[in-house]
Symmetry: C2
Subunit: 359 residues, 2 copies
Amino acid sequence: MEETTFAVLGTGGIGRRTLEVSQHKDALTPVAACDRHGTAIDFDGLDVDELLAATEGNIDGEPRDDEVATDGGTGATAADGEGGIKQHGEDRGVVASSQARPSEDPIRDVIDRGDRIDAVLLALPNYEHDFIPRVADRFVESGYSGVMIDVLKRSRVIDMLDDRSDEFREQGITFICGAGATPGFLTGAAALAAQSFVEVEAVDIRWGVGLKSGYEDNRGTVREDIAHLPEYDIETVRDLSETEIEAIIDEHDGVIEFEDMEHADDVLLERAGVCDAEDVRVGGILDVRSDEKPTTTTVSVTGTTFDGETATNTFRLDDATSMEANVNGPALGYLKAGVRRNRAGEYGVFGPAELMPGF
Amino acid sequence: MEETTFAVLGTGGIGRRTLEVSQHKDALTPVAACDRHGTAIDFDGLDVDELLAATEGNIDGEPRDDEVATDGGTGATAADGEGGIKQHGEDRGVVASSQARPSEDPIRDVIDRGDRIDAVLLALPNYEHDFIPRVADRFVESGYSGVMIDVLKRSRVIDMLDDRSDEFREQGITFICGAGATPGFLTGAAALAAQSFVEVEAVDIRWGVGLKSGYEDNRGTVREDIAHLPEYDIETVRDLSETEIEAIIDEHDGVIEFEDMEHADDVLLERAGVCDAEDVRVGGILDVRSDEKPTTTTVSVTGTTFDGETATNTFRLDDATSMEANVNGPALGYLKAGVRRNRAGEYGVFGPAELMPGF
């Protein structure tokens, strides 16, 4: 297997765990990691243990306007909503690692080495819908050619990336969007489960997350999930204080149920030809007071077979698989799939379900 | 979506049903079908309804040495073991269709039009392990460039195809092997389910097939399954008469259970980097006296997450999905995936699980 080098933009929850999981993967070498404070680059492979130990605890959940919206030197954390970087001792963020150097423009540092980086994982916050797309623009403008991959959840970002697909193609960029647990892992499962059918009637995605001990590390995820409640949206949630977030959690006794979430699963399954977006339903239950999952994450695909039977195939993730495992494994899996596409000359925007067998 | 043209070699159970299922798929046009009697070719798209109606009932389950081993003009039926073609009225086999013409060398007819055929589905019997590989040789020798795909089950054929991978690559052939229900569909599911884990300890594939009303159409499959019983192998089973097959079925009261089958699932999952071949177990239950499945087809993947949990993800096919639906949908899905690879310049031998996100 040919070696794949990758960079992680953002060293919050997802960025850090992606680095950790990559140590278990063959032929996959992390060569760069940055946050808004600085950049660690080593083409012999980052010392992930040192980096993680040095930056441990560098996660909080509060979006900060001025930082998120800057030139890309931002980018502390997780694409699914985890927040910025806390100070760590005297240094701040990734700069606490002996491998990192402070930088005025950490993303530029990565871009400048782009010719030796096969893939860039955007583990950045996206409280502004166009933040990830704007970071992509910087890579396009600077002539980067390779894979870019995000683990975003919301449908509307896909459209923004789609608007850039001509530029990606001209530039030789294979952009894979939504490659975390949902939509990534679960739409992939749906696309596969759909292979029994000639017509798919419904895709029902239900997730369960128990986040007691992981709560502190995932405040941003909780915040972003709250934005899916009918009374809120991503803009109003950005402006809530931590205290207000806690109050919402208390109102729900720590267990928040979500229905008809604006997850990109629908548009990505439609792109992949699996079904109409309107036939996809995404919901879930988040329990921040228990590590037990309140419900088993399940993908159910109902369709009609060529011989006229209606049936439902199911894909279930064991309750013992953490949200983190189900985000980061698939993200790296799709990253490798993307590098393969990129090397074969396939450019543009891809959803995870498009990397499955064609429906 | 760019149009994909494909040919089916063999018009037994799998060949016929693949033609049928393809009518439900977008941008997929069957342009050629042949059996050992003749060839139907139409680049505007075959009239599948006419072809299926004209050749209905043309299935039996007895392998015939002299025919199976010939120059490739053979090839009545299903790669998973269905047999030859029965006479139909005055004409025989596909020639009963008004779209077909008798031919001394039907495979040659297809090869000669290869430049207009994106993919060739080999729905041929393989009672001799090297029959499919030898048909592939004919395509290589004649300069065909495109996708070839089979739905074989047995491990040892993969090795024979692998021996030809240099030739495939030189020739621009993307060969996808084992793309039916098992190994195709189920190893794909296993490769996906494995994404939660950093180490996979076991893949357990259990299938159930209820084949009462479908028995006549699938005698070859039953015969090939019997070859997996400890007392038999593929050579001894070839020589059994239908009466002897029936006697074996009676001995088991119509319900035959299989353990540790020589299915290519193991080698294909190892190729895809999911786990060691020895960690894969395939078994199943075949009930030829009921249409109810005796057990639900289930793929269980047990592994360890990056955060140290051991867990089992599962993929279950609804009992209402027939074996036929689970062979032919995935076969065409992988065919489309293969054409995409081929157009991107990726040649050689691929297992279905290699078309999933990289583990």
